[in-house]
């Protein structure tokens, strides 16, 4: 039997995922992390991106998060997401629209809108779309 580790993914507004997994992939600030059971204790901030929970060799769940925090204890992994949504639930149209909107603001730098926050929005929208693309290729 393969070793597993308990994973909890929660956002401030609800619980997203709770269960056992063989491996977890998360977009840490210093680069993508792959976490297997019995990892050393670690705390890190997460970038916006895709968290992948590999439940078995054939099954894995993708989640989109827009930043957050990851804590690892040898047998428990906790992800505190700022916003975590099931990848299936991402409203693609809204993501595309947000992207278009953010790009428009970027193009039109003279407007009074905060340049940095627009860039962040654009980044989030791109990440959401990428997650969706990957999700679709896998035939989810």
């Amino acid at each position: 039997m393969t070793m597993t580790v308990h994973v909890d993914i929660v956002s401030a507004e609800k619980e997203i995922f709770s269960g056992l997994a063989e491996m977890i992939f998360a977009p840490a600030e210093l680069g993508e992390l792959g976490i297997t059971p019995r990892h050393a204790p670690l705390i890190t901030k997460l970038n916006p991106g895709e968290v992948r929970v590999k439940v078995s060799s054939t099954e894995s769940y993708p989640f989109f998060i827009s930043g957050g925090l990851l804590e690892i204890q040898p047998h428990v992994v906790t992800i505190l997401a700022d916003t975590a949504i099931r990848a299936k639930d991402i409203d693609e149209a809204a993501a595309v629209q947000a992207k278009a909107c953010a790009e428009e603001i970027l193009a039109n730098k003279t407007s009074r809108v905060d340049y940095a926050s627009a860039e962040k929005q654009l980044f989030q929208a791109i990440m959401q779309l990428r997650t969706l693309d990957r999700f679709r290729k896998r035939g989810g």
Binding site: E13, K14, P41, I43
Partner: protein
Amino acid sequence: MAVGKEIRTKIGSIKNTQKITRAMEMVAASKMRKTKEKMLATRPYSKKIGKIIKHLAHANPEYKHPFLVKRDVKRIGIIVVSSDRGLCGGLNSNLFRKTLGQLMKWDQAGIEVDVCTVGTKAYSFFAGLSKTTVIGHTAKLGDTPHLNDIIGIIKVMLDAYHAGQIDELHVVSNEFVNTMTQRPTVEQLLPIVPSELDEQLSSRHWDYIYEPDAKEVLDYLLTRYIESIVYQGLVENNACEQAARMVAMKSASDNAGNLIKELQLIYNKARQAAITQEISEIVAGAAAV
């Protein structure tokens, strides 16, 4: 018949009031269900982050965060979470009474108090007090408040804490025990008090690997922790408000019912007396003929 005209108008007006209170009761009942769901949905996050904080308190970080260090208390900040609207029984007044009790204690110890208020009721109450200064306020957050809505006031308090203007931070809000009971609570947020020791974790010397570094991660984590507690207090207070309003409106409807019954009795008696008098007058008149 002119008898009991006033009583009838009175009964009519009480019936109208009863209709309103009954409608409010039903609205509050359905809102309570929604706010309660919201409250339960936010619990896992605050539980998890609380756990991490607890782990952290037993780890041995090389960096001591100011949120974990006790200082001499000269000035205290409190965040008071109240409702925006009234007609919810003693919910807010109980909360304010509890807060006043605390304020008195601090006052005797010569400690000054800064207040941040959430909700219109708290603002109008604390703005009128001479001992305290209101330094931040937010209101009209609706039934489904978002974390973004309260970041502002929390930032005000945390900045004050960092600058050394306040030495402790407390949050005052109602705790949802069940539909009938709401308990006002005062909770200390800063400095963070480590809870009871976890044997397994504290028995050996260990520490996390911090990425990118301890300061940045701890800053982020502790700020999130404070936010999550205040947010939890806010959604809990919302559920309390609806529950208290439902109970208050139910008892108002019941009281109106009793009042109507009494008035109806008085009205019937008066009517009967008038009829009896009329008959006796007629009989007396007939006898005289």
